[in-house]
Symmetry: C2
Subunit: 246 residues, 2 copies
DNA sequence: CGTCCGCTTTGACCCAGATCAACCAGGGAG
DNA sequence: CTCCCTGGTTGATCTGGGTCAAAGCGGACG
């Protein structure tokens, strides 16, 4: 876990997301210019960062913590459309109003840039624009992958797919060096339901079912251990093998 | 309808997508450089453009016609993850393998650029990269909008949402100037089902239901007329009004 | 140390949409 | 003119996941 930084700190070189965020490709001089316009904001778990329809006058990178992007219909139905983890970028250079709610799900630290100077900077420092394009293309691929999950997978496959995502992101190497897959769920059952297009009851039932079938082992309600990752992938309906042959 | 162009033609200035595609922002000299590396390809309705997992050695803009992006699971379940219409862009500078199938659904003309020269050109002509970023961000927004449709909308709402998309894109002004909304469905029932995460039977039933309820008027199986666009939006579960007040 | 509250689990029942199956319409080929 | 073949419609039935309801389970707080 990354300690909330001193809000006045200016040094990007020790930043935990330095090598993965929009600034990843920047040369030292470009970084200096970014440092001049950046500022930090922190949010507590549960706090909104911005609402759909708001004008958001800044863009930002997640430094630590997690945030969700959700769309809501008038009658209250909700769909999570993105999950922001450290190094992910929010905001849309070139447009100002947001089309989804952004909410901190854990304590959150963001590295923000006021929109106008950032847009200016994108023109003068190609490495920022270049990296942002790459990140946006990755996001688009992920969104499309998720469309398959939402449109065609069963409840059990959906849960397994979500667990597989967390497993890939958060695997902890145990002290004795065995490559055991073990992580904490960063979301409540309700948030998982919003992500997967399910109800929280179905999420709970399917997690119980996967536990019963020994696909996962639960320690408490949040800690998950995956004894066999290939089995999990199979449950997710993804072809874990293949693709390298032929 | 745009006639299939002479495959050797080099003049971008008369191109029907000149002002909306990746090249929209190009200055005349940038356009000249694009012209030097471009070439056209045509596909007949139903033909594949590329398969998931293929290395695609070019990127392209749709000039006329339509293509679908679909992902397929091993057991045959399919989900359309994108619909390419004129001016839309396919391909991913920076990566080579495709993660979905690209298939022409109507006769299709594409303006292609070999990947390596295009990537080179992106570095030297910022207007291409700039426009591509903007288009990719739009695609991402659209993909996220679609996640709400797939995850939370009912079958009837899904159909209405799809019809609304076509209506917005393809509205034809009738000769006498009345703003009647009337268009042809570019997709079969099966393709609509793949787009919406439904079965083709459900698609057919819901279209019949919307017809019965006078939300749409069908002329034959493909021609659709929408007497009241607001009613259609309401059926889609979208808040057609609102957003401009406050 | 008890109680309250947010989160989770579990059960019983129901319904939207899937599945299985039959049939229809039109248009191209022989 | 008929045959067939592709895409579309419609009906009957089944079922995965939603809905409604009740109860467990920490952990914060008085």
């Amino acid at each position: 876990m990354y300690a909330a930084p001193d809000l006045a700190r200016q040094d990007c070189s020790g930043c935990p997301i330095r090598h993965r965020a929009v600034c990843a490709r920047c040369e030292p001089d470009e970084l200096t210019r970014l440092e001049e316009i950046k500022f930090y904001r922190t949010y507590e778990a549960g706090q909104p960062v911005a609402w759909a329809g708001d004008k958001m006058d800044f863009v930002a990178s997640v430094v630590s913590g997690a945030a969700t992007l959700t769309q809501t219909m008038e009658d209250g139905r909700r769909q999570m459309v993105g999950l922001l983890l450290p190094s992910d970028f929010v905001g849309r250079p070139g447009r100002s109003d947001l089309s989804y709610d952004v909410v901190a799900v854990t304590d959150l630290v963001m590295c923000c840039f006021r929109k106008a100077p950032f847009e200016q900077l994108m023109i003068t420092t190609p490495h920022v624009a270049e990296r942002l394009l790459e990140m946006t293309l990755d996001e688009l691929d992920a969104a499309r992958e998720w469309m398959l999950v939402l449109g065609r997978k069963t409840a059990r496959e959906k849960i397994a797919s979500l667990l597989a995502i967390f497993a890939r992101r958060d695997t902890i190497l145990t002290p004795d060096g065995t490559r055991e897959i073990r992580f904490d769920l960063p979301l409540t059952r309700e948030a998982m339901a919003d992500y997967l297009g399910l109800t929280l009851e179905t999420v709970s039932r399917q997690i119980s079912a996967l536990k019963r079938d020994k696909v996962i082992v639960l320690e408490g309600k949040r800690a998950v251990q995956v004894p066999d990752f290939n089995l999990l992938m199979e449950e997710a309906g993804d072809d874990s093998d293949g693709g390298m042959l032929v």
